[in-house]
Subunit: 348 residues, 2 copies
């Protein structure tokens, strides 16, 4: 008997298999033989033979498949979970389906990327990320424990919420920003003008406007009750702002900007963003192999801990700038050591 | 006689001085003796003695100061430019002031950062960025050439636009995204709920909501005529989306998402974003000095060109993941060479 069957070897399912490698005996299943083959080849688990039993089943396929999978595999699995990005709708489907609700616990790992499919999967996808557990009133302690253990084994941080709490939270942190980014980009598209002057502000604000419409229309449909009031409130804020601009009312505009500051402070810091104790040391280098390694080797030799590094390629130029992030206390030493090693430290 | 007087040694003025070091004789002036001292100390130029003449004067101070500076220094400078983020208002101020308009050319370097002041200045701030030149109908060829030469000497790409074209363009690429990000964050602040589940989508969409309200209220006031219609159109799109969600009209929601895709395709790629020919090779490392240098040295020894690199620190864990971006054609070789050198290549 296997420890786990993963149904659906896309980004999430394959990443779960990779994260559990060496910890659990995982079998895999997918309607696509090609995706299944990639997941097996990458080491996410064994192909399920259609007969073997397993302790737990994770449905990492479309939310609409959850009920039929649970019904079909009820004899082979102990407990079930799924990874639907809207929980209430799946819980309702299950409640009306006649399956044994005690054995099922919904869940939602808050991890993803712009790419999809088993080739984009990674053992570290869930590391340090929240994994929401959404037991229903009928979920047994054993079913909840099974998905909690799974989340922990993947390196995630389990967070228990009701389906309603989860759906309201993702409406705020994920679905509202998606609609807003799409709407900003749609307004710009309608202008029919070049955006060549765009800088990082527009680029960040519209990044998720590139998301897959087919996937998102389904997510938004399922969570419409939570998302629509937020979208309407955003529309109202913007109508008030437009009126304030028209009648030259700076106090109203400033009020919006200040409330925006307050909201931004509620957003947890992104991995890769750093506090004010870190400073950038920029080094100009020719754009050729080995420069990055050379700069970092010089820093390491001087005992400088480089917290982060970014490479800025200048369009159409044969040079780039390597930005090293170091602690404020190490800034002077880093600049001196890198310059002494012959590097072109910028703005010194 | 100096080549250039920079009035205002904030982020932009000091960065101009640093970029011109070794190319031009730059004198500096600022109402703040402390800021001036930092700029001189950093090597941006000499402190202006209040008497010396100069070929060109760049007003890198508040837009409201432009007229008085031009009037006061008319006897000492050949030509003038400024760096106002809204051009029409300054052009109107100048036109009504009685100064010699032939000697003045507005301009706007499209560069900045979240920090301000001379300590944040950098010689590479303008490298590869657009620098908009906005001559009025009265601007002489000599005044236009002076600011064009200045932009080129700073490593920027000069782009000539009318004040109206400039103001309409920044309304789209900068002012609309600012209002949108502030409004999204303001809606979230009003919810009064934790945003602990937030991922990169919300973080990117609201990043510029942290901007300085005092500065932005002035920019938005000056460009209200161009910004208000865009904000109103955004409000309208969102009202339609909220209605479509309420009445479960997936076609209308999908239409918005698809137009968002189209708009996003118009946004130029950010420095540090890469096309689909590049893939990530993740390497798990202990979070201690020298790991980054070691991984990159191994890549360099194997002849792998690392296009970009990112360090992911996992909160509360003693390890991190270094993500190397390499060309698709080098992926297999990079994974093999790094594993052979003893590194923990993830998901292999």
């Amino acid at each position: 008997m296997a420890d786990l069957l993963v149904v659906g070897t896309g980004l999430i399912g394959t990443s779960v298999g990779l994260a559990l490698r060496g910890q659990s005996d995982v079998v895999l299943s997918d309607l696509s033989a090609a995706d299944l083959a990639v997941a097996v080849e990458r080491g996410a688990g064994r192909a399920w033979d259609g007969e073997e039993a397993f302790a737990h089943c994770l449905v990492a396929a479309s939310p609409s498949a959850v009920v039929s999978v649970v019904r079909r595999l009820a004899d082979r699995s102990g407990t079930f979970s799924h990874v639907a990005s809207v929980q209430r709708a799946v819980q309702d489907d299950l409640a009306g389906s006649g399956v044994d609700l005690a054995r099922v616990c919904g869940s939602h790992p808050m991890a993803g990327k712009e790419q999809s499919g088993p080739t984009a999967a990674s053992a570290s996808l869930f590391a340090g990320r929240p994994w929401v557990l959404c037991p229903s009133g009928q979920t047994s302690p054993g079913a909840l424990a099974a998905v909690r253990d799974l989340a922990l084994a993947c390196g995630a941080e389990p967070v228990e919420l009701t389906a309603e709490q989860h759906d309201a939270a993702v409406a705020r942190v994920s679905h509202l920003p998606q609609v807003a980014a799409s709407a900003v980009a749609a307004v710009l598209a309608a202008q029919g003008e070049e955006l060549a002057l765009a800088g990082p502000g527009l680029q960040d604000t519209t990044r998720i406007a590139a998301s897959d419409p087919a996937l998102w229309v389904e997510v938004l449909r399922q969570n419409a009750a939570a998302v629509a009031p937020l979208v309407r409130e955003l529309s109202r804020e913007l109508a008030i702002a437009a009126d304030a601009l028209d009648r030259a009312d700076p106090a109203a505009v400033e009020d919006l900007l200040r409330r925006g500051n307050a909201g931004r402070r509620l957003v947890p810091r992104k991995r890769g963003e750093h506090d004010r104790d870190f400073v950038v040391v920029p080094v100009a280098v020719p754009d050729s192999p080995g420069q990055l390694a050379g700069v970092l080797a010089s820093a390491a030799q001087a005992g400088i801990n480089v917290e982060d590094v970014r490479v800025e390629h200048l369009p159409g130029r044969p040079t780039g700038v390597i930005e090293l992030l170091v602690h404020l206390s190490a800034q002077a030493q880093a600049r001196t050591a890198l310059a002494a090693a012959g590097w072109d430290v910028v703005g010194g």
